[in-house]
């Protein structure tokens, strides 16, 4: 039953027209993902009119491809500019950006898109077989379970942060405070707006991230006395091939990331905790935990696999 459906699905998806649409979608999506302020959801919304003249299956393929492309585009900015486009690419910056700084941006990007592919494929296959059972489990998830997951995620931030745990905690609290500005979605009261209408909508994630990561990075570069050079990634088939030869070594990270992503992903809001947890697990189980955060390939593989496994599992 499950196998037949999966086979039928691949058969439809691999028709030349649909495959062509997937390529177009991924290309458009990547461009959208790289543009600051435009994420997967906006991209899908903007390009929705394109699909009106298509058969429904092809339209879904195009939109999904745009969405995945945008996710990958987010990984590009995380790695090359240290500006995560989505909450779940934050963990990718930890090791992706140091790698790009060392001139290994090509490897980091290859690892990112390969892990995205592995994670997504894994969870799509699993969800085909287990969707009915998982739907039942997901429905049983209530506020206590969600709270437990979030608590675990934020605790792992403090564990990961390195340096001063008090400062990590302060950053988390500040983030929560910024997030609680605006309309309280439960009671409808205005929180922390102090009568300013501009604050009613609260702080947008993208804006906060560009301010904190982007401007911080520019100022740091100036302090270190360098002119801002961005980082150049040399992408050619050789780099991709070389990286693919190394990647199988991290098969444990792939499997772990896929399972964490899948497990966290079939309930809403799972991709971000999944990426952080996968990163923390990879660091914990690694033989060289001290290399994490300084540009370790595994540190790109772990969060990307989990985030995309979560993205694929969330129906």
């Amino acid at each position: 039953m499950g196998f037949e459906n999966l086979f039928l699905g691949f058969q439809v998806a691999l028709q030349p027209y649909n495959l062509f649409l997937a390529v177009v979608g991924i290309t458009l999506g990547t461009i959208i993902g790289v543009l600051p302020g435009l994420g997967g959801a906006n991209g899908v919304a903007i390009l929705l009119p394109l699909t009106f003249s298509m058969p429904p299956t092809s339209a879904i393929i195009l939109l999904t491809s745009i969405y995945w492309g945008a996710l990958f585009g987010g990984a590009i900015t995380s790695i090359l500019f240290n500006i995560p486009g989505e909450p779940w690419s934050v963990a990718t910056t930890f090791d992706g950006f140091p790698m790009a700084k060392r001139g290994e941006g090509g490897q980091a990007l290859t690892a990112a898109f390969t892990s995205s592919f592995v994670g997504a494929l894994f969870s799509v296959i699993l969800i085909t077989f287990f969707a009915p059972i998982l739907a039942e489990i997901a429905l049983k998830f209530g506020p206590p379970e969600f709270f437990a997951i979030q608590l675990l995620t934020f605790s792992s931030f403090i564990g990961l942060g390195g340096g001063n745990p008090l400062k990590s905690l302060v950053s988390i609290l500040l983030g929560f405070i910024l997030a609680s500005v605006g309309l309280d979605i439960v009671t409808g009261a205005l929180r922390l707006t102090f009568g300013l209408t501009d604050l009613m909508k609260g702080f947008d994630f993208i804006i906060a991230v560009i301010g904190l990561f982007g401007i911080g990075e520019i100022l740091l570069t100036m302090e270190e006395g360098l002119s801002f050079k961005g980082t150049v990634a040399k992408m050619n088939p050789k780099v991709v091939w070389e990286t693919w030869k190394i990647l199988p070594r991290y098969y444990r990270t792939f499997i772990r990331g896929s399972f964490i992503g899948f497990w966290m992903g079939f309930k809403p809001g799972g991709a971000t905790p999944a990426s952080f947890m996968s990163y923390a697990f990879a660091k914990r189980f690694s033989k060289h935990p001290e290399r994490f955060g300084k540009g370790e390939l595994e540190g790109v593989v772990a969060p990307e696999t989990a985030a995309h496994a979560a993205g694929g599992a969330y129906p």
Partner: protein
């Protein structure tokens, strides 16, 4: 580092007090339908204040030592920071596009020392392209000022 830690802790503690004040206005207890709006911000602010006290104590116990930013490094950092701040302030009055034209032009001329034609071409061209991109094609409204009104937007 010590002075920087103390200053940051003080600023964040001030933020904490601000949040605390607004949370008290909203009510921090429980009403019939669950926690009131100020409940979550209140406890965030309380823990934030406690952490700031902790960081202050840590910083005080430590000797002065390494400065947070070297004297010769602060110049370039400020050179980036103040034009950006000025551009953001300017944006409130003249809109995003005019402010970014001025910012880019100023920066290219002052730091980059490019020739005037390059400065004008690049800054005006960039703003026109972003204007078309956001206002025309993506239909994302950005802050606009008198100049855009004059052109009929």
């Amino acid at each position: 580092m010590r002075a920087a830690d103390l200053t940051t802790a003080a600023v964040l503690a001030a933020v904490g007090v601000l949040v605390l004040w607004d949370a008290l206005r909203l009510g921090i207890g429980w009403s019939t339908d669950g926690p009131k709006s100020g409940f979550f911000p209140f406890w965030l602010a309380v823990v934030l204040l406690a952490c700031c006290l902790g960081i202050t104590a840590q910083a005080l116990r430590r000797a002065g030592g390494v400065p947070f930013v070297a004297r010769q490094a602060i110049g370039p950092v400020l050179k980036v920071l103040w034009p950006a701040t000025a551009a953001v302030l300017l944006m409130q009055f003249v809109g995003l596009y005019v402010a970014s034209t001025l910012y880019m032009g100023f920066y290219m001329r002052w730091i980059g020392r490019h020739s005037w034609p390059a400065v004008v071409g690049m800054s005006v061209g960039f703003s026109v392209v972003t204007f078309l991109l956001f206002e025309k094609w993506f239909l994302v409204p950005m802050p606009k000022g008198p100049v855009e009104t004059w052109f009929g937007y």
